[in-house]
Structure formats: C-alpha cells, structure tokens
Symmetry: C2
Subunit: 277 residues, 2 copies
C-alpha cells in the first residue's frame, strides 16, 4: 500500500524512513522529516572515489560533502543510527558508462564491495532559513521546481570530473539581497552564499525564461535574480566522466539524514560530547 505525501508530512522522521525503506513511499522528499538535513547522492566504484572527493573539496559550493561511506559499507554511520543507503532513498538513477539506464527504488541487487557513497548537502536548509526571515520563495509557494542554468563558471577539475557550474536562480527583492547573502553564507553545507546576483550575462546565462532544468520563474518588478551553486553540478560532471557504474538519487528524491538541519558539522552524534572513558 502506498503511503501518501500528506500523511508523511505530519509524521516524524522514523515513520518517513520506514515508509521509504519498505518501498511504500517512492516520491519526492521536499518538506518531509522537517528539521533534518537532506542530501544528494553519488555512489561510485572506489577507483574513482579519491578524484571525486577532490572534485568536491575543490568545488565546495556546488558539492558540499556531508558524508562519505567506508568502501563497500552501505551504512551511512555518520549521518544516522540506522541508514542503509541501498533502501533508504525513495528513488535512484542508475548510470552505466555515463548513460542513465534505469530508475529504481532499491539498489540492494546492484550493491558491490567496491562502492563508495557520497552524500552532498542540498539547498533545502538555506531555503528554510531564508523563508524564516520573511523572504518568500516563488518556486516553493507555487509548488514548482527552482529554475537551474548551466552557467559559464568553470569548476576546478579533478581527474575525470570537470565542467561548467550549474546554478539555481531565485528572484529576491532588491532591498533584501544583502540579507539573503548573509543568511546563506552561514550554511556552507547547503551551497553557502550566492555565486552571483544581478545581470545573468555576467555568468554566461542568456535567457532567464528558458532554464536548462526546472521551471521558469516570473520576473517581478524590483526583484533581482540571485544565483546559487547547485547540486546538479556534480551530477553533470559524473555523467560526463562516463564511469562504468554510478548511482545517484533521482532529482528531488533525497536521502533524509538524522543530522539536524542547522548542525555545525554533518554528524548526527555531535562530535563535542564526551561520554566518559
């Protein structure tokens, strides 16, 4: 039996994860498990893991690394007490040689002893903080997908991973831009401060009305386009790298962790507690 989004939205994290693990919920995770950090996913053979980790370190705004598994271990033990990455994400995209070959809801059959899992922070955290400051976000209020663009900004390459930075765009009232920059800078695990605001052409974007992904947002008088580094960047880099096998989350269908959304470090057990000898 399918569990509905509206049922789960009122539920605690344990119920949400149980429904996903059981395959009863296979849809997007926006607004679910409120208060907990959500993450993008990239799973690849160990042979590529060091280069991918370097790519994330060199491009921390599009690729904010929040968790890395041990090789071959599907349990994400820094992100939660019982997170099995093979079952605890609503939907996965499976790529072979750089091509999407299928979308599945469980990757137990695909698991290999040489796989390494990377969890990357997403924009939900800073969006919540911006909304709490009283600044409305069009795509959330209208149940749309944020518009995303392939910018002219080059990422710093590492091994086979490279490419242009993908950015997401939100219109912000001109007199609130400085505040939005300040707020989002405090969330380095959620893409940090914007990479640009104002004229899109300055970062190589021609037309705000035709995003490369997501829905076009209506221009409003007195609003400025503000651009953040986007988690689609590593997905594009991974596709271009043409790895023999790579598994990502299906866009919007994220891993929900046990880490507080506002945690300083991405560990569900804060690293500052001494439990006695």
């Amino acid at each position: 039996m399918d569990t509905s989004y509206h049922q789960l939205k009122e539920s605690g994290l344990a119920k949400v994860r149980a429904a996903i693990r059981a395959g009863q919920y296979q849809s997007h995770t926006a607004g679910l498990g409120q208060g907990f950090l959500q993450a993008n996913l990239a799973i690849m053979p160990k042979a590529f893991a060091l280069d991918f980790m370097r790519f994330c370190q060199r491009n921390p705004k599009p690729c904010p690394l929040s968790g890395v598994s041990d090789t071959g271990n599907p349990m994400m033990f820094t992100l939660g007490a019982d997170i099995d990455i093979r079952t605890d994400v609503p939907a996965y995209n499976v790529y072979r040689d750089g091509s999407l070959i299928e979308t599945v809801n469980d990757i137990s059959d695909l698991w290999q002893d040489d796989l390494v899992v990377f969890a990357l922070g997403c924009s939900f955290t800073f969006e919540n903080a911006v909304q709490q400051a009283g600044i409305p976000l069009w795509h959330i209020d209208n149940n749309k997908t944020v518009p995303m663009f392939r910018s002219g900004i080059e990422t710093v390459p590492a091994g086979p991973f490279s490419g242009k930075m993908v950015v997401s765009m939100r219109f912000v009232p001109e007199d609130r831009v400085a505040q939005v920059v300040e707020i989002s800078r405090h969330y380095p695990l959620a893409h940090g401060a914007p990479v640009h605001w104002g004229d899109p052409a300055e970062i190589g974007i021609d037309n705000l009305e035709s995003p490369d992904w997501g829905d076009a947002a209506p221009q409003v008088q007195g609003h400025v386009p503000v651009f953040w580094a986007c988690g689609v960047t590593p997905q594009v880099a991974i596709e271009q790298a043409g790895l023999p096998l790579c598994i990502t989350h299906t866009p919007g269908h994220m891993l929900i962790t046990d880490v507080s959304e506002y945690a300083e470090v991405p560990n569900y057990q804060t690293d500052t507690h001494f439990k006695g000898e």
Copy 2:
C-alpha cells in the same frame, strides 16, 4: 644569508615565500603574510589518501581540509598561483613507519610520484578575529605556545586513522564566551566553534597546569577555559597509523597560501568569477 623574522613581518607575501623557498627563512610563520590563510600539512602515499580524506571529512573540526593536491603533483594550484609544496614550507617533519626520522627544510629529494598533499586550516584565522573583537589571547600577547591537551573525545575513525581529539585551550572572560563561540563558528576552515567550555573533566582533561603540548596558561579570576579542536589531532592519528612514509610541517612552521584569511572557500581565485567564454 638568513632573513630575520622581523624583516619578513613587515614584508608582503611574495617576499616571505621567496625567502622560504630559497631556504633563507626556516623558522615559524605566526604573524607572517598577514591576511592570508595558513595551513597545516600532511603528505602521504596515494594508497592512504582516500582513508585520510574520509578521516578529515568525518572530523572537520580538528581536520578542516583546505586543499588537496593531484597525485604526484607538488603544485598546490587551488591555494596559490605558484606554490611548490617541496620548497615553500619553512620546515618539514619526515616520518617513516610512524616514527619521526628527520626535520628538513626542503623535500625535493623525498618527492615521489604517488604522493598526495593535504593542507588543513589552522587556528590563526579565528584567533585574529577574536583579537579584533577586543578579546586578548594570553599565548599571543606573551609569545608562548597555546596549551594543548589530549582529550577524551573520540574521533570518528576511517581506515587506519583514529584516536582521541587533541584540543587547544584559551582562557576567555566569562562574559565574552558566547561572543567567542559565535565568532569562531564563522570560521569552519579554522576549527569552527569550540568543542567545549567550562569544567575540563567533562572532556577527560585532569589538569590544566600540565598540557600535553605547549605552555601552561595562568588561570585568571573570572575567566573560563574554552577548548577548540586542534590540528595536532590528525598528526597524532597519522603517527599511530604508522604509514611507511608521511611528511608533515614542523609545528608552527606552516604553509602560507594566497587565499584570503576570510575567504568563504579555500581557493585563491574565487570560484564566483566568470571570465568570459
């Protein structure tokens, strides 16, 4: 001819680096190249690099990763326009099988094609910010080394790397502690917010008068001991791991980068600039 500390303290970054590269300056770097990020160093064979990178990701407060080289490439191209890690640090400690075997001023002869360089943020950045807020720091004002302690806090292990967290301690006036926590939290690449303040026994430290490294600081009425995660933590983890070869900076003798001390991301070319197609 030796270049003196006092000469270099008034010099720009280019002169400082040239003196270090030429072997004319082989001493500590505190206060040199002001305004630029300094970094701890760990150089090891690629076979251990993925696990060490996981150790840093899992323990970001003691091990804030600010740069990682390509395998076998001694140029730290994200941290500066011309940083050669073989010559641009005043002094290096060379470990074989976990034991310190020598301290040298140039590692060109030791360089191997399988080496990976890790640069880790250090405390100088947040210390400058704390001082600028008008809060004095005893060890700096008295030209001492900050007291450091092996705490009871366990790091999160990764491969051969594990062990207790080393913390540094600074006494702070009781009514400024909240401010100091807030300030340092803004510098995740410089160890972030303190891991503890108040009773040392709560993090397994018996006696503030006998630090494991550095100089004991005098207790002052109305001051509270505040503990930050310390960059000695990865050094201890590396020693315990007993790698066949590992090269670190000699404590206090850091890499000075081209990255602004207050940069959001550790790249000397900000990643937000679009230079045109």
